[in-house]
Point group: C2
């Protein structure tokens, strides 16, 4: 799902592309900002959230290196999410008109772009599916199993704090903690630090 094809642009188009560095916690753009750019993450991790009420935030996506964000910019005038760097990060900035012209001119890039969008749809559907599993330990197990890309793999390294994962899954940190402990005593998983071993 990497869009590195876009990086191999014809020379003249490259001039309009810049990079931007973000410190951990820094905001790239906020919902209701004017949507002018599309971004490709080259380093770090950026989360997309939306503020519902004053205190409640909803996290939609964790965008990692070689993944993109703000596709919405291409077709809408304002962003609908807020993008915040979870750790120090770097992004490539594509002005929307530039990207649109690229997508019109280079079918291969366009097809790649569509594939990336479809993958994002799949990912969101999975997150929605998770929410239909009410019981905490079942939801967590489903999530963990999904994190291993290959069925024969059994270890998952959690590179984010449990409390962030809890938030993604729609639980509190306490509930995640208890769910993991239950999975451990039920011998469904084993834990060492932030490494989880799935017992098949």
């Amino acid at each position: 799902m990497d869009l590195t094809d876009i990086l191999r642009l014809p020379e003249p188009l490259r001039n309009n592309i810049t990079t931007q560095n973000l410190a951990a916690g820094e905001t790239l753009f906020t919902q209701e900002d004017e949507a002018t750019n599309f971004y490709l993450v080259t380093l770090g991790r950026i989360k997309l959230v939306r503020y519902i009420n004053e205190d409640r935030v909803s996290t939609f996506e964790i965008v990692r290196a070689s993944q993109s964000l703000a596709e919405i910019a291409l077709f809408e005038d304002i962003y609908t999410c807020t993008a915040i760097a979870e750790v120090d990060s770097e992004v490539i900035v594509y002005p929307k008109e530039l990207l649109l012209s690229i997508l019109r001119s280079y079918p291969d890039v366009a097809i790649d772009f569509m594939e990336m969008l479809v993958k994002k749809i799949q990912s969101l559907k999975f997150r929605l599916e998770l929410r239909d599993i009410r019981i905490a330990h079942e939801r967590v197990l489903h999530y963990l199993r999904h994190l291993v890309n290959f069925p024969e793999e059994t270890t998952v390294v959690l590179d984010r704090p449990l409390k962030d994962i809890a938030n993604d899954l729609g639980f509190t940190p306490e509930t995640i903690s208890r769910a993991l402990i239950k999975l451990e005593t039920d011998a469904a998983i084993a834990r060492q630090e932030n490494i989880i071993i799935l017992q098949k």
Copy 2:
């Protein structure tokens, strides 16, 4: 968000396109079927679901007339969802190779297609956002307010059974029923049959 551009295809390409009729409750394809076609709904309503456990199903999307489904077919070999007609429906069938070649050859169609995909991403994000609202009547109100496309609009006509809506929102029919009654007694909405009037 209609893909009717695809309907205005150059003459030779049209020959490969067929339509298919579905009775209410009929299945168009099931998850793990070989993904060969992309579909455009012309009549009726089709829901995309995924079976989690033996009894639990998760509903992702309600696809209505002039909307499309099974974009996944373009980039994967098997469907990841099951598509079931909620009412009598009709779809246009596009073989995946045909659609891919169209998307390569006609940039305008490709851009429309991307826009449609981005809209689907937005819609899924909204559904995810809903799930982060725990209190039933608040989630229902948020949902209802989203159904009115224009802020000045105040009436919503529910064209699907409450129990289906309940399932979409991740609640039981009983909970939705009680939530609506609470919203009514709180004077946040008024109800007449399947029409909801939002009090601003």
